[in-house]
């Protein structure tokens, strides 16, 4: 529908209401709730759109949603004639932790985790991701608790272990015969894993390793599962063989017996109440020279012979360390993906509310206006919606390169997962805050999810790699690519930097609406920014080096350019996934609405990142044209808002009362019923 007819209809609706309520004798009617579906027709097939967004295992996802909705364990609550499922966050921390374990037991019994560690192949891996995403929509604690057990503990055994570990542990892990955790971070060292202080030595007389926490800053910290439930852990420590430190290695240690008692030589304390994720029992661990069998060293990268010789196929300690970081990639992939599902839930709630809630009249005694009919409200929510779409496609791309990984693609996966994890989680936090405010006071209520999510998802910005550190690593990797290309005098052929081989794109001085909506222009602007920032970054670092600074310190000093560059890389990579998703579609309503969203995504990035003005990629006139176009796109997207959030396929039960009949769910009769 074009904009004019749309506006006409909106106005007509307002006028109709006016005439019906103009009888001075009729009492001022109480506000009524009208489901947004009645007044907001869908102009594309939302099921087809969901297929693009969820991309795989839709039926499996819906099965799992149903499984949760049908069980009392998932705390179904009735409001306004509907059932909603969400954990009872009013329970104590200990109760929430218990509920997490009960939910896991239920899902385990229904076969949800079947094959999570023992099945191989792309299909099995994608199904696992799909289930994990659905679980995260219900409760972040439940997802994190599972993530630690399967992806970190299980992943470490898969990736660092060899056959003897796989045979011994994987199936028991999948069945929860044992409960695993992952002891990497310490009080004194988080993102800087290479600096951890836990020490392991080898005693060849008993063929045992001895793990020790030498000082308070070496206590393991934030270890999910450690405080209450875990029976085993992966311990990361410095491996000292005959007085030589061989760097960080991973070993398996038992920390509790079958009855849940802490093993001798292990001390465990609770990390305490947190701003979110209270269903996860994060703990601290101290090791007092505990002894573990030699076979418990995860030896895919390096081994110690019975007589105490250090053996490794990888001689370079840097490469050895990199090999150890592999399981963290899967963590970053799942975080990048799950943060976008959180954004989807919060936008679905806030936009549904904005289509049913009115505030203020524009004319004296006129009807009040729907929140989303205010251009300002559109500008608050619709660009975030467009970004969420863009990042959904980016998530799918990331998942696909991850499940189809090869040794050659590991660098790309590392860089892309770092960049997307940082950008997606930052985007999610921002979206949650905006949605919370857009729901007004209702956004504060825990039952309405959006406000509560802020506490639940905040941790994503720092766990599995602090976002700022990750972005630095992205810039460093780009710089390395740049230097390598220059040295060899060869074209760029990785990380999507191929555009650097082409002539520098030129931005027209006059930007018309049709230019602004053209994907070629949008990509040109993004590439221009990335290429120039990379050139500047390389130049600045090399100048500092010429002045005598070390390379590392030069990069640290050039943090401003590094930050801008990291974002430029991520934004460009995300836009590319959007353009690719769009290109795969036949002409039609779906493609048209995606083009609008893609333009909104690109233009809001141009508007928001000061780098475009700072470095002169866009003129002030250009930026004014962009701003105007964003506002125009808001109006164009407005009629599709409901269909766009419906396409997320989030079951109603996982949204919240304000997303539906919030008058009924707040009525006195509902008070009396409960």
């Amino acid at each position: 529908m074009d904009r004019v007819t749309w506006r006409t209809r909106v106005l007509l609706n307002h006028l109709n209401q006016l005439s019906s309520s103009s009888n001075p004798l009729s009492p001022n009617p109480c506000l009524g709730f009208s489901p947004p579906e009645l007044s907001e027709p869908f102009e594309f097939d939302t099921k087809e759109m969901r297929k693009l967004l969820d991309a795989h295992n839709l039926e499996d996802r819906d099965w799992l949603f149903g499984l949760m909705k049908q069980s009392k364990l998932f705390n179904p609550r009735e409001a306004g004639g509907r059932v909603f499922i969400a954990p009872d966050y009013n329970q104590s921390m200990e109760q929430q932790r218990q509920m997490t374990m009960k939910r896991i037991a239920y899902l385990l019994d229904r076969g949800v985790f079947k094959g999570w560690l023992t099945d191989r192949g792309v299909d099995a891996e994608l199904r696992k991701f799909a289930f994990f995403e659905v679980i995260g929509i219900f409760d972040h604690s439940l997802a994190v608790k599972l993530g630690v057990h399967f992806f970190l503990w299980g992943g470490a055994i898969q990736f660092f272990g060899t056959k003897r570990h796989h045979d011994k542990w994987l199936s028991d892990t999948e069945n929860y015969a044992i409960k695993g955790c992952f002891a990497m971070s310490e009080l004194g060292h988080g993102s800087n894993v290479r600096g951890i202080e836990t020490v392991t030595t080898y005693d060849s007389s008993t063929e045992e390793f001895v793990i020790n926490t030498p000082c308070e800053s070496a206590q393991k910290y934030w270890i999910g599962g450690a405080a209450n439930h875990a029976t085993h852990t992966i311990v990361f420590s410095q491996l000292s063989i005959s007085g030589n430190n061989q760097g960080v290695h991973a070993l398996i240690a038992q920390i509790r017996d079958e009855n849940g008692n802490v093993c001798p030589g292990v001390r465990i304390a609770d990390c305490g109440h947190k701003i979110g994720l209270n269903g996860v029992d994060n703990g601290r661990i101290w090791f007092d020279n505990i002894r573990i069998p030699r076979e418990n060293l995860l030896n895919s990268v390096a081994d110690v012979s019975p007589d105490g010789k250090y053996l490794s196929a990888i001689k370079d300690p840097d490469q050895r360390f990199a090999a150890f970081m592999a399981p963290l990639t899967s963590g970053r992939v799942t975080i990048a993906v799950s943060s976008i599902y959180s954004s989807q839930v919060s936008l679905a709630i806030a936009i549904r509310y904005s289509l049913t809630r009115r505030a203020f009249s524009v004319t004296p005694n006129g009807p009040e206006v729907l929140l989303l009919d205010y251009p300002s409200h559109q500008q608050r929510l619709l660009p975030l919606l467009a970004k969420t779409y863009a990042m959904s496609f980016a998530s799918n791309y990331l998942k696909m390169i991850y499940v189809k990984r090869t040794p050659e693609s590991s660098k790309t996966i590392h860089v892309v997962s770092s960049a997307f994890k940082a950008i997606h989680t930052w985007h999610n936090m921002r979206t949650l805050q905006e949605c919370r405010e857009a729901c007004g006071g209702q956004g504060i209520k825990t039952e309405n999810r959006v406000g509560h999510f802020k506490g639940e998802f905040d941790v994503q910005s720092t766990f599995e790699g602090d976002n700022n550190v990750l972005m630095q690593q992205v810039s460093k990797a780009l710089l390395a690519e740049y230097i390598a290309a220059q040295k060899r005098g060869k074209p760029f052929k990785a990380l999507g930097l191929e555009h650097m081989n082409k002539p520098c794109p030129v931005i027209p001085s006059q930007l018309t609406s049709s230019t602004l909506q053209c994907s070629q222009f949008q990509m040109d602007a993004f590439c221009l920014r990335e290429r120039d920032l990379l050139n500047r970054f390389a130049m600045e670092v090399s100048q500092r080096q010429k002045q005598g600074e070390s390379k590392e310190y030069s990069i640290i000093l050039s943090y401003q350019l590094a930050g801008d560059l990291g974002r430029a890389f991520a934004d460009r990579a995300i836009l590319q996934t959007f353009i690719d998703a769009e290109a795969a579609l036949p002409a039609g309503s779906l493609k048209n609405v995606l083009a609008l969203l893609r333009s909104m995504y690109a233009l809001i990035c141009l508007e928001e990142d000061a780098a475009f003005l700072r470095y002169g990629y866009l003129s002030t006139d250009n930026v004014a044209a962009v701003r105007k176009e964003v506002s125009r796109l808001c109006a164009e997207l407005r009629p599709h808002a409901l269909a766009l959030v419906s396409s997320f396929g989030i079951p109603d039960a996982c949204l919240s009362p304000i997303a539906f009949n919030w008058i009924d769910s707040n009525s006195w009769s509902s008070v009396e019923r409960h």
């Binding site: 009208s34 489901p35 579906e37 009645l38 039926e59 499996d60 819906d62 099965w63 949603f65 149903g66 499984l67 909705k69 049908q70 069980s71 004639g81 509907r82 019994d109 229904r110 076969g111 396929g649 079951p651 109603d652 009949n661 009924d664």
Partner: protein, 384 residues
């Protein structure tokens, strides 16, 4: 006081009794257990549409003549059309029937269905979507489609998926029979009134002069009882049903049931449940499970659109001809020995199942177009 103003003709397949503010529609093909044929569906559609606009109609009562409320759609006629090579006519039948189901599910005035006898398939579609469903000790409810090579349609993917736990999957896949007490317990019925009190209930309902739901509810409440569930009721097996029918695939459901059976020898209920699944069309079981699962997340309109796609594939018979075969074995030849094709669950591929959920690639075929409904009442959106 309301009084009868017209004499229904005996040969009418839908008898209409008019009172001042109440209309009573009686399904009148007792020899065919009131199975809905095309004419009856058209007539019901016409009547319900007219009543919605008629300010003098405040309540619609639907009941059946004889020992059935309604045993289903007139499948025999549909299969005849298919066998004559006219699958489009067959699809048209379902199009009409699903439109009626949608109208009832979104009806703005109260409908009371008196389910004093058999309620199966299409009969459930003509009653369960309404706001009040009165069961009696004579009620027998079932969605037996999987044994016929069909799947629970008429909006069943909406209402079965909203039964407690995984009871809907159980009822939909096995085609098991429920009595009045069980219908009430699981929410398929809203009331249970002993058949001896039905005439009093109808008399009281005939005095209604407004569509006030609470008032009508209060009237039916007055005649209602809380029946005890029979000792062997499946409702007492809810834990096993939840445990087994929550599995991801039909194969896993069956093997979970067989595991239970191995641990509990001589459990008649388990044996008959496993038997029912083994007798049903494998294709039907798989598409039924998927559609009930999808139904859980969809509105009634979306459910019917999806069911129409599925039923169009069923009658066109490109992926499987099980519907024809089921009707042959159970309704025409009555040898009760259908030869399903594919013959086993593991031969039904995901791709085959997927096809039932896609649009038909056939010129002139269109998705089910639901009539526009103004201002859906809350009660029309979710009942169970």
């Amino acid at each position: 006081m309301a009084s009868s103003t017209s004499t229904p003709r005996e040969e009418d397949s839908v008898l209409v009794q008019k009172n001042l503010f109440v209309r009573t529609l009686t399904l009148n093909r007792p020899r065919q257990l009131n199975a809905l044929n095309f004419d009856m569906i058209s007539r019901l559609l016409e009547l319900f549409l007219a009543y919605e606009d008629d300010a003098n109609v405040k309540l619609v009562i639907v009941k059946g003549k004889g020992r059935a409320f309604c045993a289903g759609g007139d499948v025999a006629a549909v299969v005849r059309q298919i066998n004559e090579g006219n699958w489009r006519l067959a699809a048209h039948f379902f199009q009409k029937e699903f439109t009626l189901n949608y109208l009832l599910a979104t009806y703005s005035k109260p409908q009371v269905s008196i389910l004093d006898g058999i309620v199966m398939g299409g009969g459930a579609g003509a009653s369960i979507h309404g706001i009040f469903r009165v069961a009696t000790e004579n009620s027998v409810f079932a969605m037996p489609e999987t044994a016929l090579g069909l799947f629970p349609d008429v909006g069943a993917t909406y209402y079965l998926s909203r039964l407690p736990g995984f009871f809907g999957e159980y009822v939909g896949l096995t085609g098991t029979r429920l009595d009045g007490a069980e219908m009430l317990a699981c929410g398929l019925a809203t009331h249970f009134v002993p058949s001896t009190r039905l005439s009093l209930l109808e008399e009281a309902l005939n005095k209604v002069d407004s569509s006030d739901f609470a008032n009508i509810q209060a009237i039916i409440d007055k005649y209602s009882q809380s029946p005890a569930l029979k000792k062997k009721s499946a409702y007492f097996r809810m834990d096993v049903i939840d445990k087994c029918f929550s599995r991801r695939t039909v194969e896993e459901i069956l093997s979970a049931l067989e595991d239970e059976e191995a641990n509990n020898r001589a459990d008649d209920w388990l044996t008959s449940t496993v038997q029912a699944l083994k007798k049903a069309s494998p294709m039907s079981l798989k598409i039924s499970l998927r559609s009930i699962r999808e139904g859980r997340l969809q509105g009634v309109g979306q459910c019917l659109v999806c069911e129409y796609r599925m039923v169009s594939h069923v009658v066109k018979g490109e992926v499987s001809k099980d519907f024809r075969e089921g009707c042959r074995a159970l309704l025409l030849d009555k040898d009760k020995n259908p030869k399903w094709e594919p013959s086993k669950l593991e031969l039904v591929t995901d791709h085959m199942v997927e096809r039932y959920f896609s649009k038909l690639d056939d010129e002139g075929w269109e998705d089910l177009k639901l009539p526009a409904r103004s201002n859906l009442p809350v009660t029309a959106i979710a009942k169970l």
